[in-house]
């Protein structure tokens, strides 16, 4: 009886508690205030411009006013434009030139400098130093290296009576020249990411490997590289997203020339908007770039997730 009474009174008590104390899982809307400042800027600076850009791309517009609605005409114009197709190719080519180079060189540098010596610390600082420079300084430095007749490269080649390759004016070399400057500039971040990953590989595994008389190559191949695989994927994703947005280096070193050979998508957008005053066309090209970057980032994300699950 007593036993039977307890559950009954218990349920009555809990019902009265439920009435007095609100459900802890219920949404408390005033908490939204904490995220409001972020949400405000996220909406005004990212979401609204995103849709505003789509809206613009459907109009004949310049910087001083939105003209008439033209539907998808700007997109049709883009895909009829040989130069737009060329700049898409250029951008992919640039990503292909820089991203693997950044990942591999960054990894090699990290492997070489991952030790507790004073020289290694100094060299880490040296290799990272270029990353703190602005794009203007970087391109200034590389223009002085590449420029014909008076440049550093021309001078060095001149000592041997040879002509230096024209990295700024040969259509086959212009993008490579920009890629060299970019790798030099951006190498610091991948190197640092790899260094931090290397330092998190547990020492015990290396100790076990050395007890097993594993060779240095074997240790690298079977222990080090598998342990930092996730960082490798991270570096690739970050760099793909960054390098797709190439602009400053191309604008300042070659202005996209010769004959558009080194013009990336962002430079095309810039020219359409600010030089031709064709804001609608520029907005349409921006949407294409947005989709391209999203596809690349998503592809990388899914590939890395699958590998993560296998591991």
């Amino acid at each position: 009886m007593a036993e039977a009474a307890i559950p009954g009174s218990g349920s009555a008590a809990s019902a009265s508690v439920r009435q007095a104390v609100p459900d802890v899982n219920a949404p408390i809307w005033r908490n939204a205030l904490f995220v409001a400042p972020y949400l405000f800027f996220f909406l005004t600076l990212l979401v609204v411009p995103l849709f505003w850009g789509v809206w613009l791309s459907l109009h004949k517009a310049d910087a001083f006013g939105i003209g008439r609605f033209v539907g998808l005409d700007n997109y049709f114009r883009l895909f009829r434009d040989k130069i737009f197709l060329q700049v898409i190719g250029n951008t992919f080519y640039f990503v292909l030139l820089t991203v693997p180079a950044l990942a591999v060189i960054g990894l090699l540098l990290a492997l070489a400098l991952n030790r507790n010596a004073r020289t290694a610390a100094a060299l880490r600082a040296v290799y990272f130093a270029s990353s703190v420079l602005s794009v203007t300084i970087v391109t200034l430095i590389w223009r002085t290296v590449f420029i014909g007749n008076f440049g550093l490269l021309a001078t060095v080649y001149g000592w041997f009576g040879a002509t230096a390759p024209a990295f700024l004016s040969d259509p086959k070399l212009a993008m490579i020249g920009i890629a060299i400057a970019t790798v030099w500039w951006c190498i610091g971040l991948p190197m640092m990411l790899f260094l931090s990953a290397l330092q998190q590989v547990p020492r015990e595994i290396y100790e076990a490997a050395s007890l097993d008389n594993a060779s240095r190559w074997g240790t690298l191949w079977h222990i080090t590289l598998p342990s930092i695989r996730r960082t490798f994927v991270l570096v690739i994703i970050i760099e793909i997203v960054l390098q797709f947005q190439l602009f400053g280096q191309a604008w300042l070193m070659t202005k996209g020339g010769p004959n558009n050979a080194s013009k990336p998508i962002v430079l095309y957008i810039y020219e359409a908007t600010f030089i031709k005053w064709d804001l609608g066309l520029g907005a349409a090209a921006s949407e294409i770039l947005f989709i391209l970057i999203m596809i690349a980032a998503l592809a990388q994300y899914f590939i890395s997730r699958r590998k993560g699950e296998e591991g």
């Binding site: 001083f64 024209a166 700024l168 030089i275």
Partner: protein, 441 residues
Amino acid sequence: MTLTLRKYMLAAASVLALAASTPAMAATELTVQRFFGACDAEFGTNTDASKAVGECGIITSLINKFNADNPDVQVSVTTVEWPGYDQLTAQFAAGDPPDIVTIHHSVLGDYQSRGLLMPLDDLLKSVGISPSDFTDASLSGVTKDGQIYGLPIDNWTMLFHINMDLFKKAGLVNADGTPKLPTSVDELMAQAKEFKEKTGKPYFVQNLANEVALYTRNLYTYLFQQDSDFFADPKQVKLNTPEAKKVLEMYKAIYDNDYTTKDMDYAAGINAFLAGEGGVHLNGTWVIGDYNASSETAGTALNAGGYAVYPYPQLFPGKKAQYADGHSWAVSQKDRTPEEQAAIGKFLKFFNDNDFEWSRTGHLPAVKAVLDSEKFKALPHRDTIAAVATLGTPLPSAVQRQFAIQDIIGQEMNAAITGQKEIDAALTDMEARINELLANI
């Protein structure tokens, strides 16, 4: 509560008092935006324009002088990289344009057509400047739809800047000591060949890398000389023509035969000419002052045998002409106080009055009285280039986006001349791209 309210009222009163007192004490502020480079290290404090050399030196000194002479007006200058129109367009779009800005005559129409510039007729009249004071070329350059939209400060064109030392070595000198210049395409090729054989250097110093303007101006000049009316319709260009092909073939032959420097950008081209790396530098009126100064300095390449400068030679049997443009000060359309209007008027008047100093750069003056003055004629080399006042021909003023067109022509010409593209294909693409641009304005 009362105490807080009183505090607020006091604070508000102080803010009001400060705000009210500031305009009365400070000078009228004008924002001026210009290209022509930065040279504050050399001329940042100079107020005597007659002591300055070159575009940058002279304009910096003139604005310094204006500030010194007019304590009631404070001009703050923003220097932009040439030509600065991308930035200006963005500033206009953001509603924050400078008050006064340098704009080429060829570009005024772009901004004027969108109602972004202030018509200056009344303002110029109020400070005593009459349109009839300007040369015909300058007046027509700044007049759009019957109104004046910029204070013209000069007209400029491209020229043959000549290293006489190398010309003498090449035997390309007339009996009177003047350089022997070609009168036809064949003669140009023959002289360039002779020049290269005798001096071991290219006839031309050209900035062909990272460049569009030089190509475009060369094309326009030699199209004019063949009477090609390529912009008969300002909304549709005709460039896929035998005349344009002739010009591209000529420049391609010059390139293929190594009669020109290659892979140089603008700055490298100037350095190469000053170092005596070639005979003829194709550059504008604006370097005459600097090159003349170099030729007067012992030990320089131009001092060795002298420096001469001439209009482009007439290579074709058509109209005697060469491409020309000009610079002007334009005023943005904004609501302004009478004080600000007056300050702008003062600034424009000052530049109009000092047009002679500006013409020392090498540009042709915009003011008729200066062009006709003995003082101007006595400046070095003005006798040999005086002809450009009549030769100078701009594009029809109704042609819009002339700088965007220049980019397209420059890119396609570069591709054709350096052999990346067939000449016919380059001309077809050039025409199609420009017409696509013009059709979508």
